[in-house]
């Protein structure tokens, strides 16, 4: 088994160290940290992929920049949970070599203690987001 990339491992440790209530606060902080979409995507929304499995409209796009993964996402302010999911994945995947990003376990979202905090059903949206991100990346492989 390959080791989990450092950023994702750290995010997991941070969540698991907290009580259920504080995990929600950390997820909220992640949602506030989601960077705005780069200008070039704001003007060209067709290049973004919609994550249908999430209850609120969320769009993601993965790029390979000189061998390094870049993830961008956009979700409305009224959907902080979805923004938080996207932000965790963006922070965890951004900057990874392609191979390392593709090796991230598909069930990572289910291992960071969010099922208790937000319910397993909602975590499904994040699992789907990771699957779609990896599928986009596979096109670069």
């Amino acid at each position: 088994m390959t080791a989990l990339p450092a950023a994702l491992a750290e995010i997991r440790e941070d969540f698991l160290a907290l009580s259920t209530k504080d995990r929600l606060q950390l997820l909220l902080e992640f949602s506030q940290e989601l960077p705005a979409l780069p200008e070039r995507y704001r003007d060209d929304p067709d290049r973004l992929e919609r994550v249908d499995e999430c209850q609120s409209p969320v769009f993601i796009v993965l790029e390979l920049d000189e061998g390094v993964v870049r993830m961008h996402a956009d979700a409305p302010e009224e959907a902080p949970t979805t923004r938080g999911f996207a932000s965790i994945l963006a922070q965890g995947l951004d900057g990874l070599p392609l191979e390392a990003a593709l090796a991230v376990p598909d069930d990572y979202p289910q291992t960071i203690g969010l099922a208790e905090a937000v319910s397993p059903l909602r975590v499904r949206g994040m699992t789907a987001m990771l699957a779609r991100a990896k599928r986009q990346l596979r096109e670069y492989a």
Binding site: L28, Q55, T82, A117
Partner: protein, 299 residues
Amino acid sequence: MAIAADPHAGFQDYADPAKLVTTQWLADNLGADGLVVVESDEDVLLYETGHIPGAVKVDWHTDLNDPVMRDYLDGAGFARLLGEKGIRRDDTVVIYGDRSNWWAAYALWVFELFGHPDVRLLDGGRAAWIAEGRELATAAAERGESDYPVVERDDSTLRAFKDDVLAHLGGPLVDVRSPQEYSGERTTAPDYPDEGALRAGHIPTAVNIPWSKAVADDGRFLDRAALETLYLRENGLDASSPAIAYCRIGERSSHTWFAMRYLLGMTDVRNYDGSWTEWGSAVRVPIVQGSQPGEVPGR
């Protein structure tokens, strides 16, 4: 000690005008002894981003559902939850939430399964409060604990199970999902995740009245006359007959249940919370596809 109803003129034609409050009434009554405001949203983090000052949060997934069985809390669990939230049995509870009060109506329906005496909805929900630029707080409200009695859930009057629906076929039945889900083009709401139903379509004889038709663009309920046109005249429901509403998991149909029960005054309306995620996966229950209600199958 129930708090006096909102005398808002626009509510007076409703069968039970006391079940709704306006944003202005709520703003004027915030902090009153005996009033508790509850936020219940689809998005579990919205409350943390800012809520009506003093409001406590109740989440449909993590608070109202039994964590193992597909069911709601039992009497002891509900007493524990409301005790932790600092809600007393004689408090007036006003619930509001995102998405035109879908989840707020669902929470209200669960509160009523336990017979909480006075539960109301904030007309227009969270969006109306925010659109009017009203005050929000981010720190979680601390009400202290209360001593809420253990009251057993009553599933016999407001809740329908699959067998009840089978026995009711041919009687007034309202499918509040989107036309695409009703006809069988898809099993999930447009823009929604798949919560798992193996077959698509609707329960035979159900009429399709998407839940959102009961509210205006601003998320507030239509007036009595418009609701009567929608449910009674256009779709042929009879206000005096027992009716059942369903959707996918019982949340959108709670909203319709509220409108039928309290705004139109239909005295016997039940919500089938098993809804399509149960019916669409159950073995040998009849299903109709297409845009017509269909017939009761021969028994």
